[in-house]
Amino acid sequence: MTSQVSSPTEQTGGAAVGEQRRAAGTKDVRRLDRVVIRFAGDSGDGMQLTGDRFTSETASFGNDLSTLPNFPAEIRAPAGTLPGVSSFQLHFADHDILTPGDRPNVLVAMNPAALKANLGDLPRGAEIIVNTDEFGKRALQKVGYAANPLEDGSLDGYRVHPVPLTTLTVEALKDFELTRKEAERSKNMFALGLLSWMYHRPTEGTEAFLRKKFARRPQIAEANIAAFRAGWNFGETTEDFAVSYEIAPAAKAFPPGTYRNISGNLALAYGLIAASHQADLPLFLGSYPITPASDILHELSRHKNFGVRTFQAEDEIAGIGAALGAAFGGSLAVTTTSGPGIALKSETIGLAVSLELPLLVVDIQRGGPSTGLPTKTEQADLLQAMYGRNGEAPVPVVAPRTPADCFDAALEAARIALTYRTPVMLLSDGYLANGSEPWRIPDLDELPDLRVRFAQGPNHTLDDGTEVFWPYKRDPETLARPWAVPGTPGLEHRIGGIEKQDGSGNISYDPENHDFMVRTRQAKVDGIEVPDVEVDDPSGEARLLVLGWGSTYGPITAAVRRLRTAGEQVAQAHLRHLNPFPRNLGAVLKRYPKVVIPEMNLGQLATLIRAKYLIDAQSLTQVRGLPFKAEQLATALKEAIDA
C-alpha cells in the first residue's frame, strides 16, 4: 500500500482512484477517495486544537470523517520526550467510513519525539511533514536518535517534506509586536494552513474560530490568522509541495438532512438535555471531575437556561448521592464518571436499585485497573457495570456504538430509567468520548416521548376499606413502582436500603418476602423491552458471526467490509443492550457455528454470552488503550473463518 492513493476502502466498491488534473495554477491536483492524517507534537504544541480545526473544516466541506485524539495524562509532560507526544488522527473520505483509520497516509511531526513515536504506524510511502527547526542535537538525543533521521537515510521509504515550521512562522509574524516565544506558539496554525492547502479545505471557519477564541486579544487572533495564511501560501508557492489533493464531499454517504460534526461526550450531553426536554423533567447532574468524563459536566454546566442543575460534588460518592436525592425529588438525575468513579459509586447504585428510582449512571470507560490509562480507551467495565455491587443488584446496561450514537443512547438509557424506575448504566468509552463524526441533526418530533406520570393519590385499599398509598405496589406490566415525589399530599412515605415488604414498603426481614423481592427486582430488569438485535448477513450463508458491543462497532464493521470485498461470508451483529440482552439474541447466536466477539478487554461480553447461552464463543481481545485496527481485525476474523 502506498500513500496518497486509495488504499482498500472501508466500503466495497471503492471510488475512482488516482484521477489527475491540472489546476488553474501550476500544480497538480490529484483526486483521492480517502485520507488519514495524523498531527503529532509535544503536548504543549496545540495538536488537539489543530486536529479539531482540520476536522471542522473537513466536516463543513461535507466529507465523512472519524477522529482519534490520543494524548498523555500529564497536562504538560516533559517537553520533547516520547511520553509527552500528543497526537490527533483524522480519517476523511468521499464515502461513508467507520474508523479513524489504521495507518496514516500523512504524518505531521512537530519534533523528533513525534516522529519517533509515530513512524511505526506509517505505511511505506507515507508523506511526512517535519518541523526541521526542532531537530537539533539535544532534541534528537532526548529521544535516543544517535543520528538525525532526516539525514541518515532511515526515512528513504517515505516522502519527507522538511519544513522549518518555527522559523517560517516567526518570519511571518515579524510585523506583530510579539516575543519570539509568542510567535513560535502559532506554528501549529502554520501547519494547519499548509495541510488545509494540501487538501483544499475551506478556511473561513478557522479564521472565524480564531477571531472568536482570541476576541479579547485581537493581536493574538490576527497573528494566528497570519500564521495560518502563511502556511497556506507556503504550500501554494514552494516547490517541495508539487501536488495537492481533492477528496470530494461524501454526498451519497449521507441521507438528506442537516449535519454537524459531533464528539461522543458532546452528543451524550445533548442527549441528556434532550431526554430532560422529552420527559418534561428538570435535569440534575451530580458529578466529580474525572478524565475522560469531565467534558459532559462542563457542557451541561453551560446550559443552565434549560433548567439544568449541575453540582460539582466533593467526591464521586456525593456526586451520585446528590443525583439520587434529586431523583427522589422528581428530577431526571444523572451522574457521570469513569471506571474508578463507578467503583466508588457502587454502594449508592445498590441503594438506587433498592429504592427503585430512575437514575442515569454514565461511565466513560478508560484503561484500568485502578488509575490505569486515564486518557486512553478500554471496555473493561462491563462486568463492573453488570455485577459490581453487593447482593443481587441488577442494573440495565446500554452502550453507544459511535460518537454520534451517544445522543440516542442517552435517550434510550433515560427511557429505561424512567419507565422502569431503575438506575441505568450507560457505558461509553474514551474513544467515543473524544472521537467525532458527522451527525444528522434530528428533528424534535423524531425524539421519543419520555413523559412520566408521578403518583397522585392512594393506590391500595386495606382490608378495612382505608385507601392508602403503597410505595412498592408495582405496575403489573413493567413491575415499576410508583414515583411519588415529596410535595404530593397524602403520599408521605419512607423508603430505604433495608429490605422492604412487597407492596407496603415497610421494613421486612421475612425470608419469603426477601426471596420474592430479590426475584422481582431481577424480573423487572429481565423484562425490560429492548429492540431485537439486527444481524447483517447479506448472503445469508455466513457461518461466522462477529458479535460486538460499544465502540468496537466502527473497526468491526470496517473489517467485515474488507472481508466481504475479499469474497468472504461473514455475519455481523452489534449489541446496544447488554442487560437485558435482546430477546432474539440466543436464537441468533445458535444460527452460526462460529461466534467471534472482539472486545477491548479480556473477554467480558464473551464470558456473559458463554454463561447465558452455553455457546462456544471465541474471544478476540486487545487492551492497548487504543481502538482495534480494521486490518488487524480482518486478519483475525479470516483466521477464524478458515479455522
Binding site: F254, Y270, V308, E314, F328, P486
Partner: protein
C-alpha cells in the same frame, strides 16, 4: 437560669422556610407520628429526641408533604421511619450528599438530615464538612452518643481517648472530634448543641435552626443506655449540671454555676477564654455571647471550653448563627440569570448549533 429565648432571633431577614407551602389546617404532634413501631432499645435517648421533633413540627405550620427527613445508617438513622413525612433511610454517611441533591433541586421542601457521630464524623465526614461549607438549606441533627450502637459497642470518633470497647480492649488511641469545633472550622453558618433530655432547650434550638437560611448543625448529646450509659450524666444531674453546663444565650453575659457565680472572660494576654468566679471587680469583664459575630473565633474558643473527659464547662445553645449566601438560592439564581441572558433553552437551536451543512436528497 433566667427564662430566655436562646438565640432564636435570626441573624438575617431571609427565612429558610419562605418557599415551603404552609399547612391548611392546624397540626398536632400526632400528625407527625407514622404508623411504624419504634424499634430503639427501651430507655434510648432517641425516644426523647423523636418526641421533641414530633412535638415541635406543628409549630412550623408547614405542609407535611413538603417535609423530608433523610438519614444515613446507625441507630439514629431509623428516625425517618417514625416521622409521618417523606423520608429516606439511605446508606452510611451519605445523607448530607443525598439531601443536598434534594434540597438544591426542590426549594419548596424543608429538608432535615438525621445522623450520628459515626455516620456524620467517621464514614460521612467528608460530606458533612462540604455540606457545611456550601451552606445548603439543610438542618442536620447529629445524635452524639460517643459510641457505635448499631454495631454493638465499638468506640466512635467522639469517644474519649482510652475508651475500652470490644475493638479497643486496651483503650482507644485516637483523639476525638469535637463536633462543634469541626463544624465551625468547616465554615458552618449555624452551629448549636443541646441535650436529648432537655426537651425545652432542644425545642428552642430546633426552632432557631429551622428558620436559619443555610445549613444548620445541631449536635444533640444522646444517651446510649446499652453501650455508653451515663455518658452525659454530669450534664443532666441537677446538682452537677450547675457547674458543668454553660447555657449560651445571645446578647447575655456568659454566666453559670450557683446563682451565676461563675463566668467566662477573655484572657487579655492570649485572647483565650477562661472560667472565673464572678466578683464585683470582674463582673464587667464577663463575655457577652454574640452568636451573630462575623468572626467564628469566639464561638470556636467557647467550643473548646469543655473538659473532654469530665465534660465540665460544656456550653449548650447556639454557638453561631450568621447569614451568608445559601447554595441552593444561588444555584437557582444562576438558572434565572442564564435565562435572562440567553433566553429559555431552545433544544432545536442547541442541537443545530455549531458549523452545519446540508445534504439534499
Amino acid at each position: 437560669m433566667p427564662e430566655t429565648t436562646t438565640a432564636t432571633e435570626g441573624a438575617g431577614t431571609v427565612d429558610a422556610l419562605s418557599l415551603v407551602p404552609k399547612a391548611e389546617a392546624k397540626q398536632s404532634m400526632k400528625d407527625f407520628k407514622s404508623d411504624q413501631e419504634v424499634r430503639w432499645c427501651p430507655g434510648c435517648g432517641d425516644y426523647a429526641i423523636l418526641a421533641a421533633v414530633q412535638g415541635f413540627m406543628p409549630e412550623l405550620g408547614l405542609a407535611r408533604e413538603n417535609i423530608v427527613f433523610v438519614s444515613g445508617i446507625g441507630c439514629s438513622s431509623r428516625f425517618p421511619y417514625y416521622m409521618n413525612t417523606y423520608g429516606m433511610h439511605s446508606i452510611h454517611g451519605r445523607a448530607p450528599a443525598i439531601a443536598t441533591g434534594l434540597a438544591t433541586s426542590r426549594r419548596d421542601l424543608s429538608v432535615w438530615v438525621v445522623t450520628g457521630d459515626g455516620d456524620a464524623l467517621s464514614i460521612g465526614g467528608n460530606h458533612l464538612i462540604h455540606a457545611l461549607r456550601r451552606n445548603v438549606n439543610l438542618k442536620i441533627l447529629l445524635f452524639n452518643n460517643r459510641i457505635y450502637g448499631l454495631t454493638k459497642g465499638q468506640y466512635s470518633p467522639t469517644s474519649e481517648i482510652g475508651k475500652i470497647t470490644k475493638s479497643t480492649p486496651m483503650g482507644s488511641l485516637d483523639a476525638p472530634f469535637n463536633p462543634v469545633s469541626l463544624a465551625l472550622g468547616a465554615e458552618a453558618s449555624f452551629v448549636a448543641r443541646t441535650i436529648d433530655s432537655d426537651r425545652k432547650h432542644l425545642t428552642e434550638v430546633l426552632r432557631a435552626a429551622a428558620r436559619h437560611p443555610g445549613t444548620a448543625l445541631i449536635e444533640i448529646y444522646q444517651n446510649c443506655n446499652i453501650f455508653n450509659d451515663g455518658a452525659f450524666d454530669v450534664l443532666k444531674d441537677k446538682q452537677q449540671a450547675e457547674e458543668a453546663v454553660i447555657r449560651l444565650e445571645h446578647g447575655r453575659p456568659i454566666r453559670f454555676g450557683r446563682d451565676g457565680s461563675r463566668g467566662v472572660v477573655r484572657d487579655p494576654l492570649t485572647g483565650d477564654l477562661r472560667v472565673v468566679t464572678v466578683t464585683p471587680e470582674n463582673e464587667a469583664d464577663v463575655l457577652v455571647h454574640d452568636a451573630h459575630a462575623a468572626s467564628p473565633t469566639t464561638a470556636f474558643a467557647l467550643s473548646r471550653l469543655a473538659d473532654p473527659d469530665t465534660l465540665h464547662h460544656t456550653p449548650i445553645g447556639v454557638f453561631r448563627s450568621v447569614e451568608r449566601p445559601v447554595y441552593d438560592t444561588q444555584m437557582a439564581d444562576q438558572l434565572d440569570t442564564a435565562i435572562e441572558q440567553k433566553g429559555k433553552g431552545d433544544l432545536a437551536a442547541l442541537l443545530a448549533g455549531g458549523d452545519t451543512w446540508t445534504v439534499v436528497g
